[in-house]
Symmetry: C2
Subunit: 333 residues, 2 copies
């Protein structure tokens, strides 16, 4: 069972994977070797993954067989284990608990050759629905407090398999970065009685310099203080604290905005490695006036070094106004 351990000074939790402990020399070979070159995420290889937890497939086709358009499976090498109790306990001044959680892989397309940016809008919308359906299901498990949904595209961004996929990790605690965002947004709300993200949406639309794209429901922008060059946010224009509460037409418009954004980044930066992360409210505070769910996309273009690790300060060589202009001007074809 992996262990969750808490840093005694700043309270950050880490997952110590005791089961697949790596010897020093193994640490460099992070890429998963495919058995006989078979991609475990491809149709026809459903037996190479654990049983699916969700699949969109024609009515009547059996579980774990081809025919699906989106398929969600438990991660074969999970960072956390789904079985067990939390077992919180101390060890002298330290705190730890069992590494309980869900770790699943969302296979975004049956087509091994396509990346998310290549998919048609309805297929991207399917992926978003799969995120939502899994959130609604995992929410029922009272051990969990947050679900982190993210995507690693390209080896430099941490992807270990080529086939287009995103991941979700359900956690028994609200992660530090999420708690900080919630607190920052709540502080602003308490002071102004307005949502800080709603204020950002209004100011950015008026200003225009950092806007990349917008449609009726979504605004795509380069944030005022981006950590990384070409960091890009997708925000719903209307206030909504949780991703899973979106209206049906919003998922369609989100799919459109995400597709345009990924294609522009692909064009502008020559298929960059990137991470994207869904930021949404923790389970305990799903409906609230201060937090505003959104996506953050971060191309992996610069290296994080000692200064950033030590300070939490980032040095960004590309002003967001320049990045936004560049992305506005580049085609999404």
């Amino acid at each position: 069972m992996p262990e969750l351990r808490r840093d005694p000074i700043v309270g950050r939790w880490v997952i110590i994977s005791t089961e697949r402990a790596k010897r020093p020399m193994d640490l460099r070979a992070e890429r998963i070797e495919l058995q006989d070159g078979l991609c475990p995420l491809c149709p026809g290889h459903e037996d190479l993954t654990p049983h699916e937890t969700l699949a969109y497939r024609p009515t009547g086709t059996p579980r774990d067989t081809p025919g699906w358009t989106v398929r969600v499976v438990p991660n074969k090498f999970p960072a956390l284990m789904i079985e067990g109790s939390l077992g919180r306990e101390g060890e002298g001044l330290y705190d730890k608990m069992n590494g309980v959680g869900a770790h699943e892989v969302v296979i975004e397309t049956p087509d091994h050759e396509k990346q998310l940016a290549d998919l048609e809008e309805p297929q991207i919308e399917n992926v978003l629905w799969a995120y939502r359906d899994r959130i609604l299901d995992l929410k029922k498990d009272s051990r969990f407090r947050y679900i982190m949904i993210f995507k690693n595209h390209g080896a430099a961004a941490g992807a270990t398999l080529d086939h287009a996929h995103s991941q979700l990790i359900a956690l028994p605690i609200v992660p530090k970065n999420v708690a900080e965002e919630m607190k920052g947004a709540l502080d602003y709300y308490n002071y102004k009685e307005r949502c800080v993200y709603c204020d950002i949406v209004r100011q950015e639309i008026n200003d225009g310099r950092r806007v990349v794209y917008e449609n009726s429901d979504f605004l795509v922008l380069e944030p005022f203080a981006p950590k990384f060059p070409f960091e890009t946010w997708l925000l719903p224009k209307a206030h909504d604290s949780s991703f899973e509460d979106c209206h049906k037409n919003e998922y369609a418009n989100l799919a459109g905005a995400l597709r345009v954004t990924l294609r522009k980044l692909h064009r502008a930066l020559d298929n960059p490695p990137y991470n994207f992360i869904l930021h949404t409210s923790p389970f305990q505070e799903m409906f609230n006036p201060h937090y505003h769910w959104h996506f953050e996309i971060m191309p992996t273009l610069t290296k994080v070094a000692g200064f950033e690790w030590g300070s939490g300060f980032y040095i960004n060589p590309t002003p967001p106004e320049d990045a936004a202009k560049f992305l506005r001007d580049v085609t999404d074809r």
Copy 2:
């Protein structure tokens, strides 16, 4: 003038380098091209750097000439500019100020072929004295609130020059990570009336499983909840809130502990890229009972991906107990 911008939600500051704004395609070529292959940090090339701010050299030898053992110069491509006022102002709901600060390079040895781990103890001690002397000097500038001292070793850890060097950045604000550590340590102190780091030193010496090395003044350990495999901390055994207040003999013992640690990491991980960071109290609270200065060394062995960026949670595949045993057993010859 670079700009400091504050994230309106979590309050993190970023440095936007407006002067050397990079076009998308330039972002990948981060390594500095040497003019005619000349290393600007080597003796004899003193004219390739700005004028030195400190050098340890034989009495009577002129500034900016060979003969030095350690030399500190302003960074030729600084992230922040030394001249100017802070100019704090708003921009709608956003906050920004001028990118005022010092950015210097500490050249650790005249020998281009040696890395820090190769140096003899007295030379490493010289490097530590140079850190101290620069802190004491820059402290006099009332615009600054913190000095971050760090080292990037190897390209994967962000180094852009091969010649052994570390860097310091004096900042007009206390960076987020430092403020968090100070607050966490103060919360613990308010609750327990003891320094959390002093408690860690005591518990780890008693426990022994995470200890890598110790001498009379310093303890080297793998922390209980490390973000990364082989993350290693060097802590003074006696309580001291600021690095620059060390006694003379402590710098000698720190040089010894740092040398052993770097050599063990070099041996165990085959000359890994790494970052180290000096953690010390901000200028406004130099003498205090709750914070305990220390070094943190982080080999760059795993990739930070979407989950870590989104959550602030880290997945560490190597338990610190295993890493400590490995480092204890490996020779430092």
